[in-house]
Amino acid sequence: MNAALAPARAQARPGPAVAGPVSQVRVVRSEWVKLRALRSTWSCMLIAVLLIVGVGAVFAGGEPYRVSASHPAAYAVSVSLYGILVAQLVIGALGVLVFSGEYGTGMIRASLAVVPSRLPVLWAKLIVLAGLVLPVTLLAAFADFFVATAIQSARGASAISLADPGVLRTVLGASLYLSVAAVIGLALGALLRKTAAGLSAFAAVFFVGPIVVPHLPHAVAGIAPYLPSSAGGALWGQPLAAHPLSPWTGFAVLCGYAVVLIGLAAWRLRRRDA
């Protein structure tokens, strides 16, 4: 009874329109509502942080590391960040879900109908995702550093500080690497639209590729260092790969992949029917 009578009252509101113009800031606030309210966001972030710090703590429980000319301090930190190799999958999944979750549920139609110019939605998703992943992984990387060095020094290893060559870069690099990986996940989600397809593509590129490619015939194996995870791994000294690229060049290559994929996602979002 009440619901039936409500329309006339609720609608008949003379005066200024309630809906203002769409702006990038407003779309960012909209995307933050979604990202913040989804359980998957916080479970992904929590798992990633636990993986990074937990694996670091476990590795720190091994042999005490002695810094020398051939054993740089930064390498010990890279090893303590081993958890990234798994955490990146969780963070990539979070990125994929940002778009595929909306395509899967149909919400994307509502989202694009209220922002018909569309691209602000992509930029907003990028901003809120990076805005969440960057600080959280930064905290995780620093926590990992302090936990691992505390355990190591208790076991009599050389003291390692953030001032040692390459150490701060490695810690910051871990967070930058994971943030760009999340962005690549987002682009894959936007391009493939399906969660399963996006996750598979991300895992293939970041997990399977680096394992398989080096074993392929020489001509193909040569690209291994230029795969996103290996190139980006140069910044945080990913311990499983050789890094012919300098840290920042490697990171630039990773960013290049992200830029190309985001560009494709933007093109597809703009051109294709939703």
Partner: protein
């Protein structure tokens, strides 16, 4: 009254691959009345509405909402509110957060969000994940989303789908009150009977083409077929009595005749003169559903043929 609060569709064609969903469709939806968008399933109604919302890009032709190309509107939520289908909400988000996310893009506050939640009768479930919603509740949430920005134009695709009788009545009253406020209200359905109770004007489509653009009144008038049902124990005798130019009598073998071309009064008089007993004499109007089937039949038949 409020100027150009209309939807104008001009020569709209939309193809998906080699399948033509909408084929050279042109019509205008005017403010102040509820306009029904009728057609059998697959007639191109949803596609047309998706194009209106800027979700699908027309292959050719133009769509204007309030005189503008919708995707260029600076404040889209104030121009157009759209319900596409019950499932354009994120199942992992509560009703309130689904609405809040849309509201934020237009700077709409929580107060208005709570208002439409109340309006849609979702107050008690607003905080629960919408993944657990029934079809009807999802539909109410979609309608709430369409009304968030107090849009000048409201486009709803099959809003009564999945609603209980209470919900159906709610939608009807809501649509009329929106139209009474001078808004443009465009609602699709494949059910003629539903539209007859809600809409004032009709746009009827079949196979992506316009079949009729009319008022419900005219459509009902045109649909009225002056058949009379006569129940008599002497069916063949009465048939002979009634036979004449312009009169058709059909019998299904029982004691009921369907007579067209003469009025019930004429039949009663003729039967009385011929001493034929008549037990029942009923003027039968073709139902709206039948009339609708009639006007869309060609398009449906062609469609079925093409599918083979």
């Amino acid at each position: 009254m409020r100027g150009r609060i209309v939807i104008e569709i001009d020569g709209l064609t939309k193809r998906y691959g080699d399948k033509t969903a909408v084929d050279g469709l042109s019509f205008v939806v005017e403010p102040g009345v509820v306009t029904g968008f009728l057609g059998p399933n697959g007639a191109g109604k949803s596609t047309t509405m998706r194009v209106i919302a800027g979700l699908d890009r027309p292959t050719s032709g133009t769509v204007r909402v309030n005189g503008k190309h919708y995707p260029d509107c600076p404040a889209p939520m104030g121009e157009l509110g759209i319900l596409l289908d019950a499932r354009s909400v994120h199942r992992g988000l509560s009703a309130r957060n689904n609405l809040l996310a849309l509201a934020r893009t237009a700077g709409i506050g929580r107060r208005r969000v709570d208002e439409v939640i109340e309006l849609a009768g979702l107050a008690e479930v607003a905080g629960a994940r919408s993944g657990g919603f029934s079809l009807g509740m999802g539909q109410r949430l979609g309608v709430a989303a369409a009304l968030l920005g107090q849009p000048q134009t409201v486009v709803l695709d099959e809003p009564v789908n999945g609603l209980d009788p209470d919900g159906v009545r709610w939608i009807r009253l809501l649509l009329r009150s929106l139209a009474d406020e001078g808004r443009t209200v465009f609602v699709s359905s494949h059910l003629m009977s539903e539209m007859a109770q809600t809409a004032t004007r009709l746009v009827i489509v079949g196979r992506g083409k316009l079949i009729a653009e009319t008022s419900v009144e005219d459509f009902i008038g045109r649909a009225a077929v002056d058949d009379v049902l006569v129940r008599t124990p002497e069916a063949s005798g009465l048939s002979q009595v009634l036979a004449g130019p312009g009169v058709t009598v059909t019998s299904d073998g029982t004691d009921v005749l369907r007579v067209s071309g003469v009025t019930a009064e004429q039949i009663g008089t003729a039967a009385w003169r011929a001493h034929v007993p008549v037990f029942e004499l009923t003027p039968a109007r073709a139902s709206l559903e039948e009339a609708f089937m009639q006007v869309t039949q060609d398009s449906v038949e062609y469609h079925a043929g093409a599918a083979r």
